[in-house]
């Protein structure tokens, strides 16, 4: 029995917008799930339905063996971290953190102990007497995390909690969340559009688009075996190189080729000749003495590595490289054939 289960969950707004179009997801206790997708994909709506802040228009939510589909938020044991912190401006940090405990009959000494515990964990002990407006964004989000954690809820729901922070605070707080997750094995659903955040935090990533789930899997599964063209393109920065062409019989071997070129890339998959979309991650392409000829049209230098855009007879390819190339330089590219991914151009789903 999964700890949290979403069955055909749907949300259609009164204006007819179908934000979530039937989602099935099973989450085990202690799992850290990240909902990843572009804005408007329904990930935040899904999270708010789990919290009870939106009423589902279809489907069912089961949390800890209880049907909570239409229960008000106060009757579900969830902790919610908002993107814009949502700290109560008229209360001090201390009051903010104490707020979730105050109406469940917690004694003052227990409240004090609980505040001390979370304030220590999040290193905000010195901020307890201040008001939210006096704090930086990073500190406000720490307080907001503390407020969610003080009650030790069944499940944590986080709506892009790091989205508005600057890079330094983002990495620091991300590491903190991951450490908490590993040491306390909390169950959490975390929403983000940042794939790096998703990769670093998640036990499993749920990629969403257009109100539907595109793929559920571990970060490495999502990255190495994208289920469809959307995931292939959305996950990874830059995304996968995608070329449409066909598989042809070339003597004893199958090869991928495109019209108007005589370049053939060997395919070792068990597949019939057909129209396909050919995919390859930039890091599996490298410069070589022989191979696909091309001309460098753009070179992006990022410090530890760079991305080189190369115009070749089979189309433009992006290559990850530690070497630097001048624009206009003529080079040859080699592809690591074991990392070729093929997709059906009509259904857009992965073939092998």
């Amino acid at each position: 029995m999964p700890f949290l289960e979403l069955q055909n969950l749907q949300k259609t707004y009164p204006d007819g917008t179908r934000a979530v179009r039937g989602i099935d997801l099973r989450v085990d206790k202690g799992e850290f799930i990240v909902l990843l997708g572009p804005s408007g994909c329904g990930k935040t709506t899904t999270l708010r339905m789990i919290a009870g802040l939106e009423d589902p228009t279809g489907g069912r939510i089961t949390l800890d063996n209880q049907n909570v589909t239409h229960l008000p938020p106060s009757q579900r044991d969830v902790g919610f971290v908002f993107q814009f912190y949502a700290l109560y401006p008229h209360m001090t940090v201390q009051k903010n953190i104490a707020f979730p405990l105050e109406n469940i009959g917690t004694s003052p000494s227990e409240i004090e102990a609980a505040i001390d515990r979370v304030a220590r964990a999040l290193s905000i002990k010195t901020l307890l007497d201040q008001y939210p407006r006096q704090l930086s964004g990073g500190d406000q989000q720490r307080v907001s995390l503390a407020r969610a954690m003080v009650r030790t809820p069944d499940i944590y729901l986080m709506d892009e909690p790091l989205g508005t922070l600057d890079a330094e605070h983002r990495l620091e707080l991300r590491a903190f969340i991951r450490r908490q997750q590993l040491s306390l094995s909390i169950t959490a659903i975390y929403v983000t559009h940042d794939q790096e955040e998703a990769m670093s935090l998640a036990d499993r990533i749920v990629v969403m688009d257009g109100g539907k789930i595109r793929q559920i899997g571990s970060p490495s599964e999502i990255y190495t075996h994208p289920a469809d063209l959307f995931v292939a393109n959305f996950v990874g920065s830059p995304g996968m190189n995608l070329l449409s062409g066909q598989i042809v019989q070339n003597g004893d071997n199958l090869t991928f080729t495109r019209p108007d070129t005589d370049i053939h890339i060997p395919i070792r998959a068990n597949i019939a000749p057909a129209q396909v979309v050919f995919g390859m991650r930039p890091e599996f392409i490298r410069p070589a003495n022989r191979g696909i000829p091309g001309k460098v049209i753009l070179s992006e230098y990022l410090g530890s590595h760079g991305y080189v855009h190369v115009d070749t007879p089979i189309g433009e390819l992006v290559m990850r490289s530690t070497d630097r190339f001048a624009t206009g330089e003529k080079i040859h590219l080699h592809m690591n054939e074991t990392h070729i991914r093929l997709f059906d151009p009509d259904t857009e789903t992965a073939l092998v």
Partner: protein, 287 residues
Amino acid sequence: MKYLRWLVIIPYFCLATLPLCWLFLTSLKTQEAAISPTASLIPSTAENTAPGSLSFSATLDAYRKLATPHTGKAHAFFHYLFNSVIIGLLSTLTSVVLGTGCAYGFSRFRIAGARDWLFFILSTRFLPPLAVVVPVLMMYRVFNLPNTHLGLILLYTAFNLSLAVWLMKGFIDEIPRAYEEAALVDGYSPLQAFYKIILPHSATGMAVTAVFCLISAWNEYGFALALNNAEAVTVPVYFAGLQGNIQGIPWPKIAAGVLIFVVPIAIFTVLVRNHLLRGVTFGTIKQ
């Protein structure tokens, strides 16, 4: 720039307070000094006043006389002041409470035809109030409401409610929903979230609304005159009635009463002036 500012403020301040100063001086005068053709401006003791000089003999008689009923009136001034206070405060309180609740509903819940309802609420202010004096009077007679405090309280509440709803809706719309949602997931019911989160945040709006409602109820004349001739007469109606009295118009007494009538409102407005300023500019400044 700084001096230029004072150059504008000081003359305007003098101009604005001139009537109040004149009122104050008149309230210290005797009836003779008040209607004397030569204006005397400096309050002084009786010995120092010569005829035709700028000084006059100051006395608190006018204030003392307020405590005794004027000829032809059933009660002393303070009776009418008490009427004004009761009617003003209760109608303001009712308007703000109802207005806040109503505005919260319009701001946070999906209400069928909300825009039409809001327009309807605003439209009650399109007609000049005095245009409906006769129908209101006839309706009130059916319910025995003329000459009662309740009658005026209901009427002022009805007039001020549309303003209260619109003002409060503006304020509550500005409170991010995330605060309430945070309270909901923190285990509070919607009602608890309303009084723990929404009420503290709309205090400013309620103060602003209260000032506007109080001023309009406090100064209202037309209905107070039409609906009352005995029990619930308010101060504006009382003073208007003193004119044309056989003893001549008792200017010092009127001045003293008006001063007592005006000062509480002025003090109240000054006390909440920071809230008022914030209220007027609300939403124009990113917090």
